[in-house]
């Protein structure tokens, strides 16, 4: 796909649609492309750190660093695939997979206590101390039947998050 062109051809749209398993309609892909071009100000074909952080709503989000690590250097096709977890047509499995990937920062397929602690720290910041955080996490893990040193995998996440209504949807503005 031409990174320097500012017009999407029908082939491009279909290719992207296939890549994201039809989770976005063609209209939505066009809108996302406009948005991608708007964010990618120096037309490098990908959105850099600066460009992401220039969106204040994104920069003040506590998980922005983690998300940024996942989205850095992606071209448009991969950008759409990344966002596809937030489409209303995405499966629950897909959404839980996404959450798993956010936790699993080293990408080895296993989420350890330290990973869970890191994300909790990002979200709670200074409101509770490190000790309290560890204590809460250990206690909650034990109540759910895991130990402090157990490693969670994708199927564990599915079990925990799977049957409770997970709401993770973003509407793509189509004008």
């Amino acid at each position: 796909m031409g990174n320097t062109s500012s017009m999407l051809t029908q082939y491009d749209i279909e290719e992207v649609q296939e890549h994201c398993n039809n989770t976005f309609s063609q209209q939505e892909i066009v809108s996302l492309y406009q948005r991608f071009c708007q964010l990618d100000r120096n037309s490098g074909g990908f959105i850099s750190a600066d460009e992401f952080l220039s969106v204040p709503e994104f920069a003040v989000n506590p998980l922005s660093q983690r998300l940024f690590r996942m989205i850095d250097g992606l071209n448009f096709k991969e950008f759409v695939a990344f966002l596809s977890a937030f489409s209303s047509r995405a499966t629950l499995q897909h959404k839980v997979e996404f959450i798993f990937k956010v936790y699993d920062s080293d990408g080895n397929g296993k989420v350890a206590f330290s990973d869970l602690l890191d994300v909790l720290r990002d979200l709670t910041g200074q409101f509770i101390s490190e000790q309290q955080r560890e204590l809460v996490l250990t206690q909650v893990l034990e109540e759910a039947g895991y130990k402090k040193d157990s490693l969670l995998v994708m199927s564990d996440f599915m079990k925990i998050l799977g049957n409770t209504g997970l709401k993770m949807e973003v509407e793509v503005p189509v004008d």
């Binding site: 996302l32 948005r35 708007q38 964010l39 992401f52 952080l53 220039s54 969106v55 204040p56 709503e57 994104f58 920069a59 003040v60 989000n61 506590p62 998980l63 922005s64 998300l67 989205i71 966002l83 937030f86 959404k95 996404f98 959450i99 956010v102 936790y103 869970l116 994300v119 909790l120 979200l123 709670t124 910041g125 200074q126 409101f127 509770i128 309290q132 204590l135 809460v136 996490l137 206690q139 909650v140 893990l141 109540e143 759910a144 895991y146 996440f157 925990i160 998050l161 409770t164 997970l166 709401k167 993770m168 949807e169 973003v170 509407e171 793509v172 503005p173």
Partner: protein
């Protein structure tokens, strides 16, 4: 189990619950409240935060404030296209030269009156000031005429009284010219390079303008002091401030800076709304230079706008400067039909500090 003492966030109350059973007496006062235990699921579910982040990636209100929407092309069929071509010919061939002529004429008249007045009447300050004010108003009228500006002023004309500050929403540098042609204001502006900077240092100096530089941090205190002095002085021109700090695209207002509202003066709001049918007056300073912007305006049909002078507001007892600023912003937004957005205009130039992130 140690006592988890925590203060504000309500989600932390859930953490207290498992411990409360340990040290409360048997007839506990909390019995009517269902004790919901914190589950692993609640901790792991970061979907609300993720959704917010993804929402910001897909569309955010801040970028929308600065988007200059290109007008819908209406010349796409066989009947309208020749009309449009004719329009282009008229605009560039007839109107533009005519306007350049008017503008040059205006400058000649202005300079030929201004320079003598400035030099000769050095001693007689009051008379010189009055004449210079009238001349500045004149050249602004010429500017406005050069874009065929049709400005409708509503409300009582501002009078020069001490302890008074005017605030307005900001769309482009021409806001200043549009307002100045009616009453000579003193303005606080960012120092610009080029011919605009030259104008700023010579002519605008005479109406008593104050300069600042966005990039210098210490500048703020000096400027605040200058502002105060100006407001206190009885025969200074009324001070006009654009509290948004940057140009916004006339559909939204960004947060007002509180500097204008801390001076202990009455604040008179002014709302400016441009009619987009004729031309989009938003100056996208990232996309065009001011000269290009002016030339573009001169090649359009007209600049049509409404200016409303609104009722003067005083700070209410117990109101902070920020609340006062927000209240005035709301008055202006409602009058001009703009949407309010909770972002600081300066985020256009810099990053939100980690402080904001912590607060989230």
């Amino acid at each position: 189990m140690s006592n988890l003492i925590s203060s504000s966030p309500s989600e932390m109350d859930l953490l207290d619950r498992p411990n409360i059973e340990d040290y409360l007496p048997s007839d506990s006062i909390h019995q009517q409240q269902p004790i919901t235990k914190l589950k692993l699921r609640d901790l792991l579910d970061i979907s609300p935060t993720l959704t917010e982040a993804a929402g910001a990636i897909v569309d955010d209100s801040f970028t929308r404030c600065f988007k200059s929407n290109p007008p819908e092309p209406w010349n796409w069929n066989i009947y309208l296209f020749p009309l449009w071509c004719l329009g282009v010919v008229v605009r560039y061939g007839i109107l533009f030269p005519g306007r350049v002529l008017i503008l040059t004429l205006g400058w000649i008249i202005f300079l030929s009156c201004y320079i003598p007045v400035h030099v000769l009447l050095k001693g007689h300050d009051k008379l010189r000031k009055r004449l210079e004010r009238a001349l500045v108003e004149l050249i602004c009228s010429f500017f406005v005429a050069s874009w065929t500006g049709v400005v409708k002023y509503h409300g009582p004309r501002p009078s020069a009284r001490p302890k008074q500050v005017f605030v307005a929403n900001h769309t482009s540098m021409i806001d200043f010219i549009v307002l100045e042609q009616m009453t000579a204001f003193a303005v606080i502006m960012q120092k610009h390079p080029g011919w605009v900077g030259l104008l700023q240092s010579t002519i605008l100096e005479s109406v008593g303008c104050i300069w600042f530089n966005r990039s210098e941090a210490k500048d703020r205190e000096i400027v605040t002091r200058k502002l105060r002095e100006h407001v206190e002085g009885a025969d200074n021109n009324p001070l006009l401030i654009f509290p948004e700090g940057t140009c916004v695209n006339n559909h939204y207002t960004v947060m007002f800076k509180k500097g204008a509202f801390e001076l202990g003066a009455t604040v008179c709001p002014i709302a400016i709304k441009y009619n987009k049918i004729f031309v989009d007056a938003f100056w996208n300073s990232r996309k065009q230079s001011f000269t290009t912007h002016l030339l573009q305006l001169m090649c359009s049909w007209a600049v049509v706008c409404d200016v409303w002078y609104l009722e003067p507001q005083k700070i209410k007892p117990g109101e902070t400067a920020i609340e006062f600023a927000e209240r005035v912003r709301q008055i202006i937004s409602v009058r001009a039909g703009l949407k309010m957005v909770p972002w600081d205009g300066y985020l256009k130039y810099s990053r939100p500090s980690p402080k904001h992130r912590e607060r989230k």
